[in-house]
Assembly symmetry: C2
Homo-oligomer: 373 residues x 2
C-alpha cells in the first residue's frame, strides 16, 4: 500500500506573534492534493497535531476540520499518535468513535500494542510517552532509560507481528543520531533519552514525528517527515514536505510543499532593502540581518513598509548601539540639547547633528519642556 | 419511545474549592442504572456538559468516558446540545463521527434545523446561541430579542415537522416564567432575553437545560431537568434527578438521584455541632449557620473535625464581631494586655478575661515580644 507520512503540524502556533492559520490551511490543501495525485491508501500523522496542550478554539476548529476532510470526506484511513505538544486526553476526545471509519488515533501507551490492520500492513501506533507509563505498563520499576524502555516496547510489538503483513511503526520520539533544529521542545537528556535506531530494524518503515527536519535521520526506512511549515528561523533553509511510502516497492519519495509565505533569512543594506531591491518575495516571513553599521532612525517601521512579516532584525557586523560601558562616557549633567548631541555622536561613531537635526531637536525639546502634546 | 432527560452536568466544577469528580461519578452511575431499569430508548443531555469553556483534563476524561459508556457500551442513542458554559467548538470535537452510532451532538445553530429521527420522534437539537448567530442564519439584522429570534427558529423547525413522528425540542435557554437559583450564569436581561413558553406548544416535549431546578417551570411538557448535583447552597433544598419521558403514553415521571454527598444547610449551636449531635450526615457539603452570638476561638477548624466539607460559616443572629464603627472606641495606645482585654470585652458584649485567659494572654504576649516561635 501507499501512504503519506506527515507530522508536527503544531496547529495553533504563532510565529513571533504572527498567526499561522492561513499558512496551515495552504499546507493542508497541498497535502490533500498530494494524497490524491499520489493515490495513497492512508495518511499517517506522527504526533504534535497541536502546538500546545490547551490549544485555542481556532486551532481546535482547524484540526477538527482537517481530520474530518481527510477521513470522512476523502475517506482516507488515518493513522495518528499524540506528540509531546499534544494533550493526550484532549486530543483523544472522540477517538473511540473514529475507529469505525478507519481513523486510528492512539494517545495511550497500551494502545501501541494493539496493532491495527489497514491494507497490507500491521500498524503499531506509539504515542509520545513518559518513562513512568512504560514502568506502569510492564510493572517494572527498573526501567530507567528510553533505550531500555524501547527494547521492551519493540519486543512486545514484535511478538504480535504476523508474517503475511508489512509492519509500520508510527511514533513520536528523539532517535539517536538525529540532527536538531532550535524549534523542537527538547525531551531528551543525552543518550539516555534517545532511541537507538537499530532497535527499529524489524519494521518495514518507521514514521517518526518530533524533529522538524525531514533529513534529521539519514536512514532509508526510518524517517522524520518534519513539519509542514517552517517553525522558526533555525528552519529557514529546511525544505518542508511529506514522504510518500510504498510498502510493496519499498520506495520512499519526498514531496515538497510550497508555503503560502516562505521563511527566509534576508541579508542586505538598509537602503537596498527599503528600496525593494531584494530579490525574494517580500511577503515572506523574514529574519533580517542588516549589513549597515550606523544608526538608522525608525529602522523597524521603515522596513515593515516593504516586509510586512519581519520575525527579527539584527546587524550582521555588530550591535546598533555600542555598549556605553565600552565607550566614552556621556556627561549627563548638561543641557538637554547638548546631551542629545553627545548621545548622537556616541551612537554614530562621531557624527555631528546637522543644522536641520539641531533645529528639529531644539523645537522638540522646547515643546517637551513646555508640556505640549 | 422512552427517553431520559438530563442536563447541566457542569463536569469540572469545584464547589467552594471541593472537587466534585467523585460526586459526578456516582450521579452518572445512577443515571446509567436508571436508564436500564426504566428501559429507555435514548438519553437527552440539554447542555452545559462542562462547567467552563476550557475544562481541565480530568473533566474532559470524565465526560469522554461517560459519553462512551452511554453511547458505545450501553448503546443508547444520545441527543445532546452545547450550553452557555460549554465551548461549542471544543465540545463539538468528534461529533461528525458520533452520528454513526446515533449520538447527535449539535453545537451550531444551523444544525437545529436538521431534525434527527430516532425511534418514533423527530428531534430538534438547539444549542445555546447568541442573537447574532440567529441574525446571521436568517440574514435578518432586525432580530433584536430572544422572543423574536425563537419565533423564527420555531417556525423554521415546524416547517420540517412530519406528522408520523412525535417532535421533541432539546434546548438550552431561559424560559419566561421560570424561577431561578443563584448558581446559574445569567444569560437573560428581563423579558427580552427569555423565551415565551407559548412558542413551544407545538412540541410534544421540550427538554431544557440551563436552570438547575427541575421545578423551575410548572408546565407538564416543557421541563428543565435540573443539574444532577447541587451546585451551590442556593440549591440545598432542591431535589436532584432526571425526567423519564414516554412519547406514547405522554407520561413524564421524576426519578431522584441519591448524591454521594448531599449539600445541606445546618443550623445549630456550636457546642451541639462539635459534639456531633446534629442528625444529618456529617460527610455532606454543609453551609453552617451558628445560633451562637459569642466569639468562638478556632471556630472553623473545630467544626471541620466533625464536618470535613464545610462550604460556608455564618451566624444566624448576626456577625461574630460587631463593626467597630458602631460600638465604643478601643484606646489603641495602651499596653498590649490591656488592649487585648478591651478588645475581648468589645467582641463579647462586655465580658472580662477570666484569670486563666489573662494568664494565657500574658504568657503569649511575652513570648511574642521576646520573639520566640
Amino acid at each position: 500500500m501507499r501512504f503519506l507520512h506527515t507530522a508536527d503540524w503544531h496547529v495553533g502556533k504563532e510565529l513571533n506573534g504572527y498567526d499561522l492559520t492561513a499558512d496551515h490551511q495552504v499546507a493542508f490543501e497541498q497535502i490533500k492534493s498530494l494524497a490524491q495525485t499520489e493515490h495513497v491508501d492512508a495518511i499517517v500523522v506522527a504526533g504534535d497535531l497541536y502546538d500546545r496542550r490547551v490549544p485555542r478554539e481556532a486551532a481546535v476548529a482547524t484540526v477538527n476540520q482537517e481530520l474530518k476532510e481527510l477521513n470522512l470526506e476523502l475517506e482516507y484511513p488515518v493513522l495518528a499518535v499524540s506528540g509531546n505538544h499534544d494533550s493526550a486526553i484532549r486530543l483523544g476526545t472522540g477517538s473511540d468513535w473514529y475507529q469505525a471509519t478507519n481513523f486510528y488515533l492512539h494517545t495511550e501507551l497500551a494502545q501501541a500494542f494493539e496493532p491495527v490492520v489497514v491494507g497490507d500492513t500491521q500498524w503499531f501506533l506509539l504515542p509520545y510517552f513518559e518513562l513512568q507509563a512504560v514502568r506502569n505498563y510492564f510493572h517494572d520499576d527498573t526501567i530507567q532509560s528510553l533505550p531500555v524502555a524501547m527494547e521492551k516496547i519493540v519486543a512486545e510489538m514484535q511478538a504480535k507481528f504476523e508474517p503475511q503483513y508489512h509492519q509500520v511503526l508510527v511514533a513520536h520520539f528523539f532517535a539517536a543520531g538525529s540532527s536538531r533544529t532550535e524549534s523542537e521542545t527538547k525531551v531528551e537528556v543525552g543518550g539516555l533519552n534517545a532511541v537507538p535506531t537499530d532497535l527499529l530494524a524489524g519494521f518495514d518503515y518507521v514514521a517518526l514525528g518530533h524533529l522538524h527536519n525531514p533529513n534529521a535521520l539519514q536512514l532509508p526506512r526510518i524517517k522524520y517527515s518534519g513539519s509542514p511549515l517552517k517553525m522558526s528561523t533555525s528552519e529557514a533553509t529546511i525544505e518542508k514536505g511529506v514522504w510518500i511510502v510504498d510498502t510493496k516497492t519499498q520506495q520512499v519519495t519526498w514531496h515538497a510543499l510550497q508555503p503560502k509565505h516562505d521563511l527566509r533569512l534576508v541579508i542586505g543594506a538598509f537602503d537596498e532593502l527599503v528600496a525593494g531591491n531584494e530579490a525574494g518575495n517580500h511577503d515572506d516571513y523574514v529574519a533580517i540581518n542588516l549589513t549597515d553599521e550606523q544608526a538608522i532612525p525608525d529602522v523597524m517601521s521603515r522596513l515593515r513598509v516593504v516586509y510586512p512579516r519581519i520575525l527579527s532584525l539584527h546587524r550582521l557586523h555588530g550591535a546598533q548601539i555600542k555598549s556605553l560601558a565600552t565607550t566614552k562616557q556621556v556627561n549627563v549633567k548638561q543641557a538637554p540639547l547638548a546631551l542629545l548631541a553627545d548621545f548622537y555622536q556616541l551612537v554614530t561613531d562621531g557624527q555631528q547633528l546637522n543644522p536641520a537635526q539641531q533645529q528639529w531637536a531644539k523645537t522638540s525639546l522646547e515643546q517637551v519642556l513646555k508640556g505640549d502634546d
